[in-house]
Amino acid sequence: MRLSYPTDIRIIRVPCTGKVDLVHILHAFEKGADGVCVIGCLEGDCRFKTGNLQAKKRVRQAQVILDAVGVNGQRARMYNLSSGEGPKFAQFAQEIDKIVRDLGPNPIKKALTKKAA
């Protein structure tokens, strides 16, 4: 397909989005990630039945916490696609990239840079 999507996205592979815990999402932000997007299978198509639905709830929990601590909850997103939908993946990648760029850098990153200096 040779599709292009933003190069600043780092892919972390998991066996199922059900493996993604709330604390994994939070730790990513704590370490300075500007956004986290969880991409799972289509709803109803989970090989492990409800993994993607659980991931969706965890992303919501993360959004609430991120809002409460002053890191915009919109930085965490959940998307669904099937493994055959390459163009959709590229589209989601561009979407989260745009959302994050509009929001600006993660404020935690500033604190981390200051601490390191």
Binding site: V23, L26, E30, L66, V69, G70, V71, I108, K114
Partner: protein, 222 residues
Amino acid sequence: MIVAKQKPLEEIIDYISDIDSILILGCNECVTVCEAGGSKEVSVLASSLRMYFMNQGKQVRIDEKTLERQCDHEYLEEIRNIVDNYKAIVSLACGIGVQFLSEKYQTMPIYPGVNTCFLGATEDRGFWTERCQACGQCILAQTGGICPVARCAKRLLNGPCGGSTDGKCEINPELDCAWQLIINRLKALGKLDEYETLAPIKDWSPDRAGGPRKVVREDLQT
């Protein structure tokens, strides 16, 4: 088990906003099962607080630890060597753990991270209901194994009140009438005749009426 619910993050932040080194202390027992104060919740709270303080431009040390239990001396002793590294502890144990910690470490401020709710059972993941009020004198043998003290809104001991409609309680149409449940269960056990036996006036002295309670077993004491 003891069922607890996490306090809102804002409330916890309010307690500790001026403190620069904090230990978040979880408990591996009941609060782990009800997903309010186990090691996972400790990690989530610690991470959230670290982000909050970093965002505020404050340098705050927030560490995590989870004990086997917070209601036993021997487990609370495990933090004796590290407790001086902190200026406050946020305990995610039930109210018992928070109080036991406070008694043991007199000069250390201890803040609760959860609201302790009731003694209950896990109906489903994320759904807990009350089953026992620890009244100190169990009457489940007479009520078919269903407790009217904990599950009847009026704590009635001799049959339902006039507000029981279609097996539901008058205070909430989703709430089962405890006495309807008791009658159904006695019927299933073939013991419906026991329903007519009048329950004597309950002795409430082993309940909270006599103030804080104690259980002393001299045969176990060393």
